[in-house]
């Protein structure tokens, strides 16, 4: 830690008196940040845990107690970098032990002594600062060392490649493949004792597999045509030569890297069936490192262009290997290849000579750090992180969007500053799914659906779009939530939460809804138009195939007279009046529409006595509008007679109506199923066809009107 900045101490205690006393005890040596409950402490840590040098923590606090804070610090691994001194009168042994188990550095009982508090704080901060410095030194050393040895190996293997006239990518490919296969093999089986550091070592050593070729005469090595048996015998010696070269190294004999490289050099041309060279080893007599490199070597030879052959596509190469056309391999490795097929294709197309070794180095360092849990993120990483956070916060503020980050464990949502203000919520919300402010905002089930949708994503396709209506400060708004699920790098990956943002789509959405509404309705009467009614009716019949439905069509008798006598304006008034009457007298769930000039349609589900229902509606429609007497003619078709094909059903009702009109108007009729389908009463607006065939309609009659 540099000396330039003052160290920061966070004091979390609900009593202002206690915070003041502690702050006074620490004097002017530190920057003091205060939190008056656990939730606030977690919020501050969330924002700047890497800057907090020490936390003085009380146990009994509102909102979230000290143990809650410690649990959160463990979940986020802040406890590894931020020392905690707990101060409490709750000093029963099990409480103290629990606190130590959760990772506190020290426990001070009340009443506290100024000198003790001061010294413990100073000592703890110093200790941690020293440890951090050491960690940084070690990390830098590892980084330097790894960089250099990788560089040397790259140069060496590149010399070999150069002499071979190979693409220069070969060594990179072998390394990548070896590493991929090893990682996957480790998940598939624990048969081979491979540790994480073995993986990085074996893939580094793999680069040296062909160093023996340095001793093969160039004429043979780079001969464009087929090798003679004699030449091939010389070529085959390269594996033994490579191994001897390593064996003859005057120093480093016991380095595991050298030992692995020896195995690989010597035995990467052995075959699983024992027919390889130089030693004819069989099955698992061949070290697993050499088995994998052999497979990788074959794959890369197939898929690369050489002086004597063209490149074979990935799929074909995998197929050839699996078929045993290119040697015999361990069945477990073949399975490994099969399972990795897609990943290999992806990775191999990505291998770039330049940044590859750097990335690999970073990975090794990361591994190293992970293996030694006492080592924490280096200063370098922290600086990068701080920079990223500053950038993130700046853009988040600028964008005026609700941005959020959700973690499953601990269950917590962190909102962007602007987002929290906009929603009228806290920036940090613990247990969001049971939080009242959150629940009030979303409709029942929305959170659960969204959660499910996120869990159903995969690391390769982690993004969801979710439209929903929320209550923001008491007003309903439509929003679109775009979220990306975060998956761990474990195998199999674990769902860890999500990041995302909410876009306000209220205006667009309302406009769309209004347009849809307009498109579905007849402008004059406000009823559905025929096109939309048809869709609704078809939907209803499809979704309830066992129900019975009736479709009626009616028109206003002598409507033309109304138009002619009183003018078109009046005619329109009559139509509006009819629509209103119809709406008023329909039961819930009935579809009604205007399907032509003065023709209307109604459609509903019934259980029994459809005639009574029709009769009721029919009677409600007749009467007077101003001086104009209104009567209607109606044809009705039932689905159990005319079927559930919309066109047939409509046509059947149309035929019944036709008969009514022929029979003098002013009553209704049911279609009886015997009609031939050529006649229509409906004005030709859609598929109305003029015919003059004969039809038979059951003689319904106007009942008691």
């Amino acid at each position: 830690m540099g000396n330039e900045r003052r160290q920061k101490v966070l004091i979390a205690d609900d009593s202002e008196m206690n915070r003041a006393i502690l702050a006074d005890m620490l004097g002017n040596d530190y920057d003091i940040i205060e939190a008056e409950n656990g939730k606030e402490a977690v919020a501050i840590l969330q924002k700047q845990s890497s800057e907090i040098d020490l936390l003085l923590l009380d146990i009994v606090m509102p909102e979230m107690d000290g143990f809650g804070v410690l649990r959160a610090m463990n979940e986020f691994r802040w406890i590894e970098d931020t020392p905690v001194i707990m101060i409490s009168a709750e000093n029963t042994p099990d409480r103290v032990q629990q606190a130590y188990e959760l990772g506190i550095t020290d426990f001070i009982s009340r009443p506290f002594d100024a000198i003790i508090v001061h010294h413990r704080v100073v000592n703890t901060i110093l200790l941690y600062a020293k440890q951090k410095k050491l960690v940084n030194m070690v990390t830098d050393q590892i980084y330097e060392k790894e960089k250099q040895s990788a560089l040397m190996i790259d140069i060496l293997s590149h010399i070999v490649e150069f002499r071979n006239g190979e693409s220069g990518q070969h060594v990179l490919h072998i390394r990548t493949l070896t590493e991929l296969m090893l990682r996957h093999l480790l998940q598939m089986s624990d048969k081979y004792f491979i540790s994480k550091s073995d993986i990085s070592m074996i893939s580094t050593a793999a680069a040296l597999h062909d160093i023996g070729k340095i001793a093969i005469p160039a004429e043979i090595l780079n001969k464009p045509g087929r090798l003679t048996p004699e030449e091939f015998a010389v070529m085959k010696t390269h594996s033994e030569i490579g191994a001897s070269m390593l064996e003859a190294l005057p120093v480093h004999q016991n380095e595991s890297l050298v030992r692995k490289a020896y195995e690989i050099c010597r035995w990467h041309h052995e075959r699983y069936d024992g027919k390889g060279y130089p030693d004819g080893l069989k099955g698992d007599e061949i070290p697993i490192s050499a088995q994998i490199v052999a497979l990788a070597d074959v794959y890369d030879a197939l898929t690369s262009e050489r002086v004597y052959k063209k490149a074979i596509p990935h799929e074909k190469a995998v197929e050839m290997i699996l078929d045993g056309q290119c040697g015999q391999f361990n069945p477990l490795l073949l399975q490994c290849l099969r399972e990795l097929e897609d990943k290999i294709r992806e990775e191999m197309s990505r291998v770039e000579i330049r940044d590859w070794s750097d990335k690999r180095n970073m990975r090794n360092i990361a591994d190293e750090i992970m293996q030694h849990e006492e080592l924490s993120a280096s200063e370098r990483t922290l600086q990068l992180l701080d920079h990223e956070r500053m950038k993130y916060q700046f853009f988040a503020d600028m964008s005026q969007e609700v941005q959020f980050e959700y973690t499953v464990s601990p269950p917590m949502v962190v909102l962007s500053e602007w987002g929290a203000r906009h929603l009228g919520m806290d920036e940090i919300i613990m247990n969001p799914c049971s939080d009242k402010t959150v629940r009030d905002c979303f409709e029942e089930g929305v959170l659960e659906n969204m959660h499910q949708a996120l869990i159903n994503t995969s690391p390769s396709d982690p993004i969801i779009n979710y439209d929903c209506c929320v209550k923001i400060k008491g007003t309903d708004r439509w929003i679109k939530i775009i979220a990306r699920a975060t998956w761990s790098s474990d195998e199999p990956p674990k769902y860890q939460g999500a990041i995302g943002k909410a876009l306000d789509i209220h205006e667009t959405r309302t406009k769309m809804a209004a347009l849809e509404e307009m498109a579905a309705h007849d402008a004059m009467t406000g009823l559905y138009n025929h096109k939309f009614a048809r869709i609704r009716i078809q939907d209803m019949m499809t979704s309830r195939p066992d129900s019975k439905f009736a479709l009626g069509i009616f028109d206003v008798d002598h409507f033309k007279q109304a138009n002619d006598t009183y003018g078109h304006m009046f005619g329109d008034q009559v139509l509006i009046h009819m629509a209103k009457t119809l709406k008023r007298n329909m039961r819930e769930g009935t579809v009604s529409a205007r399907v032509g000039g003065d023709e209307f349609l109604l459609f509903f589900e019934y259980r029994q006595h459809v005639d009574l229902a029709i009769n009721r509606i029919f009677n409600s429609l007749i009467g007077k509008y101003e001086d104009f007497p209104i009567s209607v003619s109606m044809g009705v078709a039932q689905t159990d007679v005319a079927g559930t094909d919309y066109d047939q059903l409509f046509h059947a009702a149309d035929q019944a109506l036709y008969t009514v009109k022929q029979g003098g108007r002013g009553y209704f009729k049911f279609y009886d199923g015997k009609g031939c389908d050529a006649l229509t009463a409906i004005s030709p607006i859609e598929d109305g066809n003029d015919g003059d065939g004969q039809e038979e309609i059951k003689e319904g009659k106007e009942e008691d009107s």
Partner: protein, 118 residues
């Protein structure tokens, strides 16, 4: 009235607090600050409203502050009240609450007298 006399009046441990906070200036500062502490008000309100979780925390805070400042009498009674409230033993809490009220009044009276004499 000296600070030591003030401690005698509120039945506290003046030497203890001097040992911990080291200077009379600091002790004086926090003794006077005690008058502004809201915990007692939170205690009375939550006891009256039957909100015993809040009452527990308030009693706990008074206990902690009392302990730090060496207000031994108030510390003792608030300590007992804290434990009764922690165990939700309301029968025991009622008389202890009366005791805390009395001790708090005694403490505040002493501090006010001291403040007036400054």
């Amino acid at each position: 009235m000296t600070l030591q006399e003030c401690y005698a009046a509120l039945e506290g441990d003046f030497e203890g607090v001097m040992g911990r906070l080291r200077t009379e200036r600091l002790v004086q500062k926090f003794v006077l600050k005690f008058l502004d502490d809201g915990s007692y008000q939170l205690l009375t309100e939550s006891m009256e409203n039957g909100n015993y979780d809040d009452a527990f925390r308030a009693a706990h805070t008074i206990k902690g502050v009392g302990q730090n400042l060496g207000f031994n009498k108030l510390f003792e009674s608030s300590h007992l009240l804290t434990e009764a409230l922690r165990g939700k033993d309301l029968d025991a809490a009622a008389p202890l609450y009366e005791q805390v009220k009395a001790d708090y009044a005694q403490t505040v009276d002493a501090i006010r007298q001291y403040q007036a004499s400054l």
